[in-house]
Structures are given as structure tokens and as C-alpha cells.
Symmetry: D3
Subunit: 241 residues, 6 copies
């Protein structure tokens, strides 16, 4: 068995660090570090709702994703300068938004919007799943600030959500791919799970060769295990006050 | 067990019709009908390559996706008039492109591009997977035209690819959701497979509740069966000359 | 006298086919085929009006035009991907809208909008005039659906409108140019007429040499004859229920 | 017979003034005033050609049209600020470009581009035809500067072109509509003619009621007469050195 | 001491001409000529306010700036065609707007907007400061029209504002640089002052070498003197009725 | 004398912290903190040049500026999502670029581009001047990496540059305004200086009242002193290896 570039065991996560209140203004502000991947997740509360929810009595949770131009090995063109967000960005922010909405009761949130901005300061693989894991903590902090201020009586969040990547690298299923692994993985899968062990999103793409059902099963097992650890790390961070 | 709006069995596909040479100019032109969903897939060959492949000796296969404004129950704004393709469109056309590239040897294709345009004339659920299934046939016709003209000695296509949706509807796993089912499904999954039984793409999203591992397993089984039937229908259509 | 590529007499239209209810969702849905030119015209009713008509008590009829990327001999860039509609597209859809508004009483339509989408599935010359001729039938169907539902007591449509192209080809005036003729015509003219024999639009452009007044007269005569036939074909199609 | 708001006879042009060398930098710079309509037409020579002419040995003549935001009664949004040129602008500049190209031999011009910018300083009807009439003079000046410098041996311009509007106002055919007439005209027509009496463009639109063939004939006669006068004024201006 | 290309003394302005009512429709319309620089400044009154002032009881003054494509030595791309206003344009129009707002009481103006459009017909250096100097006169005319109509009892304008450029050219501080000087200046500074001798804007940029404090002092002195002359010319023009 | 919200003396800078190598991939990566303002400045080297420098033998230094959506008290719309960079952003990044180019010999840099991205993680006033001060350090690190690799023999940087804001707050000239001061300052000025005591940029805007010459002099003195301290802090940071 070829050993991973990072020396990690196949089912080993990178070191995770979750820093709350990383910046001052946002209702929730979390820096999540998964190895060398660093994403700043801020959750902002605004007392407006998108027009498609008007008169629905419901609130909304949405996400935006960005990468600083030099978060990566070579500089990427700044999307604001290009005049639009690329397909990859739109795809990722839609994924993050869906994941976060899966654990909050929008009716109970009331007619307000929480926007979770996930900005990648440094990229080393797994930025979208780190955004979900960190964005959840920022959303909790933002919601709790509403409870503390008496705007909401109870938190409308009814579960936890975290995301992780898995893939087939050098023929073996591995957990939490870094960039070196990701760029030569044959299959790449992002899994989002809740704290009831249920799947929120399963997104797998065969890069090199199509994956067999038994490989898929192995990847799902790895992911379930990884998400479990991440959910625990979220709780630790949230209880650290 | 509640019966499906369409009266189909849980594992029953909608009627499929694949019409080749639907329009005259494209190297491959296929109208695929999956029940009331109708997608026109044209494959165009151009003797250029995108700049990121310059000097690589490789060709490229890419897809674009569009929906006529009134393909749906209510009129959607025309994307050309809005000034951009939405996130959903970009996500879908990236998916179609990846799926088609999974069964073609880009080196053997040579320095040319095949663009598969998938335009939805009428939508009733499953437009992205119909685009993959029909787009494959259009791509084969386009490649065969190159072989017939002597531009290529052999076809660089080394496999078949088809896509299908599955989901949990009214508590039960069902195959090939139409719009009525899709709009109230709890979970929605698009699966792309090749003719070796391998998975090319697995994209599942929990809408109502997170799905359990056993539900996921049932959905994957349904999809494998459905894709098998679609792959057979592709061969029939291609052999119908 | 050089004979036309299609073998048609100078004053002979291409075969016309008008298929109503071509797609299922739109209030009016017409596929018009003029020889190898095929345009899908859908008319959609929406209970809103553009802001410049607010508080006017009037409704609106507008058109949008598009060409599938491979409707033509070589693939055209998708306008949605380019990020804007080109000048030719805007010019054509403004023409179609004006033509349709010429035969409807916007006051009697009431505060609602009918959008006629004209999407070219296959192009062989004359797409803009085919759009007008087919779009009229779709608009009638949409308006009749409002009458049937009791939304309107009477149809606000007070006339018929059709369009045809004429031109000087190989030195002779000809009716209804196909692409082979159009691409080498010296003069190209699009004429829109109503069923009272009146002109709604006259748009002529000298490509090769300026046209003399007698040539213009001959073209107008040809067009009047051609429009007469098209108006008859519209009635046949509308009475075919 | 109701008399025109301006007191002019039905076949009377507004006073025309053509000022050459209105600005300093352009190879041709003409202010044309048709009554209260004032358009600054500059012709710029650039030693490049658009990509679709590469290796054709041909040059190009193109036009751009703009209106200063407060050229009109109420302020219009600046197109540069809106982020795009509207359909009306694109339609007009395509028309001007076609008209100017009708009287120049692009092969003889050689691989260079003449861009004629028509910017409306003050609008009172007829801006597009004034742009053609004035733009022609600017183009001649620009071409002559190439001849004077020895870049071209002979002028590639082989004719004159001018444009005028005609219409049915208060039931009678009138020449050269100003804004007060134009805004209540039943039919509006722009005619572009060369100095051989040939038609380059005929663009008529029924606003109020469809026009009959005899009305069309009367309008064409008026236009032919008006264009004749404009062509004479162009020569006067060009010979005024 | 090297003499200036224009032969002017270091502290000598170019000839200034201010023509009011240059065009007919705008409430204020001023052509300002500073040597060969010619800018048309129109002030338009609209009875709306931008959304950020809603319910503030305040009005707004804003400016837009544009350059005709061939105002300069070589043709610039039309910003409306490029699809956006460049950074230089945005910077200049923000500057003009701030300068004009410095001498008007927005509360007293009431809930209306004055838009000052500054369009450069011919450029020879100093277009932004000419826009401020001429735009002020146009704004006064527009405000006075409101007073004359009884919309406002008193003018909300409480001072005068003018702008001028200064710079270090060939080692010496000079006033009012034309293009020939500007393009080889080592330092370029735009100064906006009011009629109380106060500074509204000071914008200096070292092009060639950083400027010393004594150079800055000399430039400020030159500018104060130049602005004084411009303010006097504004009064002359305004009293010329 | 009213005391500053922060309790600082009028001529007292906020605490400065300059952290080099804050992220891993960029050739220069600096986090600069000026009180609560935090800007991440990365300098990226690319072996290309903008087209206007082709064949000039020169390199280029340019800057881009962005603010994370929730760097501020309330969330700002993400510019990438809006589809363009606002006028303020363009103005700031042009300023940063000019400042950095003032201390580097572009000829000696050779045909390559250094892009300095300044992304504001947290804003509390003075972000543009912090970007210049921090961006300089990042540029030095990037250039030194070229020297270390032997790409350049000597550093083409020939001086130091730093920026600071000054203003009139509560009637008194103060140095280095934070947001609380800035939002109620009567005059706001950004000064960029080099290590020879020369001015690179002077940009002052009267917000409340025009400033007198003696106020301007006091502000310039404060700024010169502040820049001196910043230049010293840059050297400390650069020598800290």
C-alpha cells in the first residue's frame, strides 16, 4: 500500500482548528483550518428576505463562496474583476446553502436572512466541505446572538451538519484529501451528513476510472466516520465559551 | 404503498424515444424523449481547442445546456436576455460535459472540440440525465461522421454512458421521477453510469429529510437497473440505420 | 432566366406546415416549418405588465427571439454564454413584437403581458418572417385560452398578420428566399402585412447594388401575394380543431 | 389640410447646416444640424481590421451611435452606466454602417477600418438619417486625408449616400419629421438613397394604422426628392474648402 | 527656464469661454472651453432621489462623465460598447459630484436630483477640472429655473466652486496644463476650491519623481490664483443675461 | 480639546503589526494590522505582461483591492456577485498600484508582472493606506524571492513607500483616523510618501467644510511624521528574519 503524501492513515483527518470570533463585526465569525486549508466563515443576519419568500412567513439561509486570488499555488483571476462568479463558485455556494438549510427551521427563523460568507484564505483541498463544517458553527453563533437579544425565543436550528471529502487515491479509499492527493485522485467525493447519521449530500465524480459499488461503499463508510469526528469538533468549539 | 402519479411501478422508466438526425446541420442531432421531457441534443465538431489544451495534442468534449423559456409550467426568463447563465445551468452543463468525457479518449480524438448542446424543448423532470443519455448518442454520431470522412481511423469512444434520476417519493424509492414526483420528493439523486456498471457521477440531495444508508443503497440499485435499460435503448437507436 | 436552387418558380412559397400544441405548457405553442426553416413559437400569458405601462390600463405583447447554437451550418456561440443578445437578435425581436402588436387592442387585452418566444430549431433563411407568421398563430391560441377561461369576454385581436421575405436573386425578383438564395441575393427585403392588404413593416436592404424603384415595386407585389397565401394558411391551421 | 407644427410645407426639409472640422483630432469631423437635431459625426481611421476580415485584403467601415443623456426632453440613462447599448442603439448603428459601406469599395480601401461615431448632442427627430447624411461627409474627409497623405492613390468612395425620414402625419405624407410630428405620426419611414437614385435602405413601420400601397408610393416620392436635396448639400459642404 | 509649448507664462490660464444654453432641453446647459478642451455640461432636474436618501428629506446632486470616442488623438473604445465605465471615468465622476455637492444645501434642495452630465467633445488636458468649473454654472442655471418656476423659494446654492490643474513641468510649477504638458509632467495635481479660498479637493500624483513640500506649496499657490480667475469668469457668464 | 474616541493623542498612530508569510503560496504574503483594520496583502509574480507593455522590455506592478462582505459593520454585497467592482474599489486599487510603482524600476524588473492583492478581512478605517504600507512589504518579499532564485541579480526596488490618513476631527487635525473618527471627520486626506520625505500621492476631500491652507499644512505635517514611523516599522518587519 502506497503511503499518503501527508503520511496520514487512510482514515485519518487532517488537524482541525475552529476559531470563533475571528473577526469583530459579523454575528458569527469562524476561521476553520483543516490542515493547510483555511476558510473564514462569517454569518450575517439581515432583517430582509429574498423576494421569492415574500409573505411566506419564512426566513432564508444562503451562502456565498469566494477564494482570495492567491489562496492557491498560482494566482487566479479575481472574480469581481472578471465580472462574474464562475460555474465552480456558483456550484459550491449552492451546495453550502443547501447543507445549512437542512438543519434549520426557516419558519421558526422568521422573516430574516442569514448569509454565510465562506472566503478561502489558503487552499489545500477540501475548501467546500470545510466551508460547510465551519459555516455551521458561524450560523449557530449568529442564531444564538438573536436568542440572546430576545429576537428569537428558541434556536430554530434542529441539528448539526458537517462535510468531508473522500476519494480513491493510488487505488485505495482515503479520507479528507489534501491538494496533493486530490489532484491525482481517481475519484473524488464530497459527503455532507447530519448528526443523526443521515446523508444530506452525496456528490461523487469519477475522474480517472468509474468507481465500483464496493468502492462507493468503502468511501461512504470513511465519510461517515470522518463526519462523526467533525461534528464532535464543532460541539467542542461551541462549548468552549 | 401510495401509487405513483403516473401509475408506474417504482422501478419503471418512462417511455423512451430516441430520434437521430432530428435536425439537419449538426454532425450529431438527437431528440430524446423521456415521457414528456424532450431534449434536443446536437453534437458539433470544430477544428479548434480551448486555450488550456494548446499544445497538449488532446481534443475536448464540452456541453452546453439551455431551457427554452416556456419549456416549463410557467415562463422562465431567457438567460440570453438576463445576461448570464444561472448557477443551475452552469452546474448541469459541467455535469454533462464530465459524463461524456468519461467515455472518450481525448488524445485519440485529436486537436478538435465536440460541443454537445442540450436544449430542453419541454420539461417534465429529469432533463439533465436525459441530456446525458441523448447527448451520448449525438456524440457517437458526430464521432462516426469523422470516421466515415477518414478524419479519424477509429472511434475514440471506449464506452457508453447514461444517466437517470432516482428519489424517495412518498416514503418509497422510485426510478425516473417526473416533475409531479420530483417537486414533492424528499430526496433526489442523479446517477450516471457506464456500460461496465461503474459509477461516473453520484449526486444526491436530501430535500425533505436526510436519507439513511439503506435508502441510499436502494436508490443505487434502482439506478443501476434503470441505466442498464437506457444503455440498451442507446444501442438500439444507434443500430437502427 | 437562371432557375432557383430549389427549383421553385419566382413567386412560389416553400411548403408551409403549421403545427399547433407542439409543446404542452404554453398557452399557445406552434411549430412553423417553411421548407427547412423550423421555428418553435410559444405564447405565454403573465398577469403582469412592464413598468412603463403601470396605471395605463393597457396590456403588452412582446417577443423574444433565439437561435439554437447549431440551428445553422456552423455552430454559433450561445447568446446566454456570451452574456448578451447580439444586435441582430435584438433587432429581430423588436420587429416581431411590433408586428404582433399591430393586430391586437392592448387596452382590451387588459393589464397582462403575452410574451411570444420564437426559437429557431433549424435555420434555412426567413427565420424572422416565419417567427411572425407562426407567432401570430401562437398568440391567437393564447388569447383564445383567456376567452375560454372567461378572463376575457371577447378576443382583443382585430386582424391577422404575416411576414415574408423577398429579394433580387440572380437579377430577378423572387419570393421567400432560402439560405442558398439569401446568401447570394443582391437585395433582401422583409415585408409584414395584415389581412386588409396594409403594410405593417417594410424593411429592405441593398446588399449588392442599390435597388431601383421598379424593382422595389416588383418586390412589393410578390410580397403581397405571398402574405396572402400565408394568411390563408394561418386560418386553415386555426380552424383545424 | 392641417398645417405642420413647424409651418413647413409637406415636402419641405428643415434647414440643414453641415460644419466640417468641428473637432480637431478626427480625420473627419462633421456637425450636421437638421433643424434642432444636432449630431456630431467623426470618422476615425485605424490601421487594423476586425478579425472576420483577416487575410481578406479588405478594409471595413463601421458606425457607432450614441445620444448624450440630455439630448432629449427628459434625461435618458447613460448607456455606458447601464452596462450595455440598447436594442434601438444597436439597430441604428448597424443601419448607419450598412449605408456607408454601400458607397465604398472595401477592397480598394485596403486593410484598415474607418469608424464613424455619430453622437447626438441635441435630438429633435431624424437623428439616424442625419447621422447617415453627416457621417458620409465625415467619411469622405477621412478618406481624402488618406489620399492626401499618399496612403491611398485614389478614393475608394464611388458614390454618395444620404438618409431622410418620411411619414404619414395627420393623414398626409410629410417629409423630414421633427419630434413633434414623429411622436404622433401614424407611419414612420427611413429611406436611404444613393446619388444614382437607387434605394439602399427602406425601413417603414406602421405605428397607428397599416399603410396602403398608394401611401407607400407617396412616401417614396417625397423621400427621393428630399434625398436629392441632401446629396446636393453634401456636395456644397465638401466643395466649400 | 524652458518655455511652455503653448508659450504661456507659468501662471497663465488658457483662454476660457463659457457658453450657456448650448443645448435646448436641459435645465442648465453649458459649453466650457479651456483652450482646446471642450466639455458640454448639462444639468438635469428629476423629481426622484436615490434609494439611500429615501425618507431623509434631502435631495441629491450627482455627476456623470464621458468622453466621445474621438475627443482624443486616437480613438478610444466607446464605454457603452465595452459594457462598462472604466476606473478613470468612475473616479472622475465621483470627484465632480463631490465638488458640486460641497456648495449646495441638499436639505434645502428638497427631494429631487440634479444630474450634471459632463461630456468631453474635444480633449486637450484638464477635462475633469473644466467639468467642475462648467458643471457649476450648469447647476446654477438648473437651480435658478426651479426658483423661477416657484418650485424653490431661494437657491440652495451657498457658494461657488471651480477646479484647475497644476503640475511640475520641465522642473517648474505651471498652471493649467494642456495635453502636451500633461503627458510629460513629473507631477500632476487637480485642485478644487470654493469662493472662500477653501480647498474642496486636493489630488496630487507624482508621475516622475516624488514632490517636495516646497514644490507642493508652489503648486497650491498657483492653483489658488487660477481658481480665483475661474470663479470670476463663472460670475461673468452667469451675469451675462 | 475634545479627546479622540480611541483615547489616542492627535499625532498618535494605532498599534501596527506586520506579519510576513501569513499565507503559504504567494511569493509575498503580509497581514498588516493597524488597530482593528486587518488587510491581507499578497504579492504574486507572473511571467507575463499586460498587452500595452508588449515589446517594451518593461515589467509591471499592479494592485487589486477587495473587501470581504462582512469586513464592515453591516454586510456589503459581494462584488463578484454584483458583477462588477464599484467605483470606490477601482479608485483604491489604482491608487495602490501607482504608489507601489513609484518605488520600483519597471525596466529592471524585466518582462514580468507583480500583482499585489489587498483583501480587507476587517475594516476599521484606513484600509487603503494600510494596503499600501503592507503591500510594499509583500512586494519586497516577492522581489527578493526573484533575487534569491537568481532570476534577478539585484532588486529593482529603489525606495520605500507608505501611506497614512489624516483629517480634521472635531476641529483638530488628527493622524490615522479609525472608523469612528472617519465617519464624522470634516476633512479626510490620504497621503503617500517615500523614504526621501517626498510626496507620492496627496488626496484630500472636504466632507463637512472646505479646509484652509493652514489646516492643510498641519495635516501634511502630521502625515509626514506618521509615514516616517510606518517606514521604520516596515524595515523592522523586513529585517526580522
Amino acid at each position: 500500500m502506497k503511503s499518503r503524501p501527508s503520511g496520514r492513515a487512510p482514515d485519518e483527518l487532517r488537524p482541525i482548528r475552529i476559531t470563533r470570533r475571528f473577526t469583530r463585526h459579523a454575528e458569527g465569525s469562524v476561521l476553520i483550518e483543516c490542515g493547510d486549508t483555511r476558510v473564514l466563515c462569517t454569518a450575517s443576519v439581515e432583517e430582509t428576505i429574498p423576494s421569492f419568500l415574500r409573505n411566506s412567513g419564512k426566513g432564508w439561509v444562503t451562502a456565498e463562496y469566494g477564494m482570495l486570488p492567491r489562496a492557491t499555488h498560482t494566482r487566479n483571476k479575481r472574480e469581481a474583476a472578471s465580472g462574474k462568479q464562475g460555474g465552480r463558485t456558483l456550484e459550491i455556494q449552492r451546495l453550502i446553502g443547501r447543507a445549512l438549510r437542512a438543519v434549520i427551521d426557516l419558519k421558526a427563523l422568521g422573516e430574516r436572512t442569514i448569509t454565510v460568507d465562506c472566503d478561502v484564505l489558503q487552499a489545500d483541498g477540501g475548501t467546500r466541505t470545510a466551508s460547510i463544517t465551519g459555516g455551521y458553527v458561524a450560523m449557530v453563533d449568529a442564531v444564538n446572538s438573536l436568542v440572546r437579544k430576545g429576537v428569537l425565543r428558541d434556536s430554530p436550528i434542529h441539528g448539526q451538519v458537517a462535510g468531508i471529502s473522500v476519494g480513491i487515491w493510488a487505488g485505495q479509499p482515503v479520507l479528507d484529501l489534501d491538494y496533493a492527493e486530490d489532484s491525482e485522485a481517481e475519484t473524488d467525493m464530497n459527503i455532507v451528513m447530519n448528526n443523526g447519521g443521515g446523508f444530506i449530500e452525496v456528490q461523487g465524480t469519477a475522474e480517472g476510472h468509474a468507481f465500483r459499488r464496493d468502492e462507493l461503499d468503502a468511501l461512504l463508510n470513511l465519510a461517515a466516520n470522518g463526519c462523526g469526528q467533525l461534528l464532535a469538533r464543532q460541539l467542542e468549539a461551541l462549548h468552549a465559551d
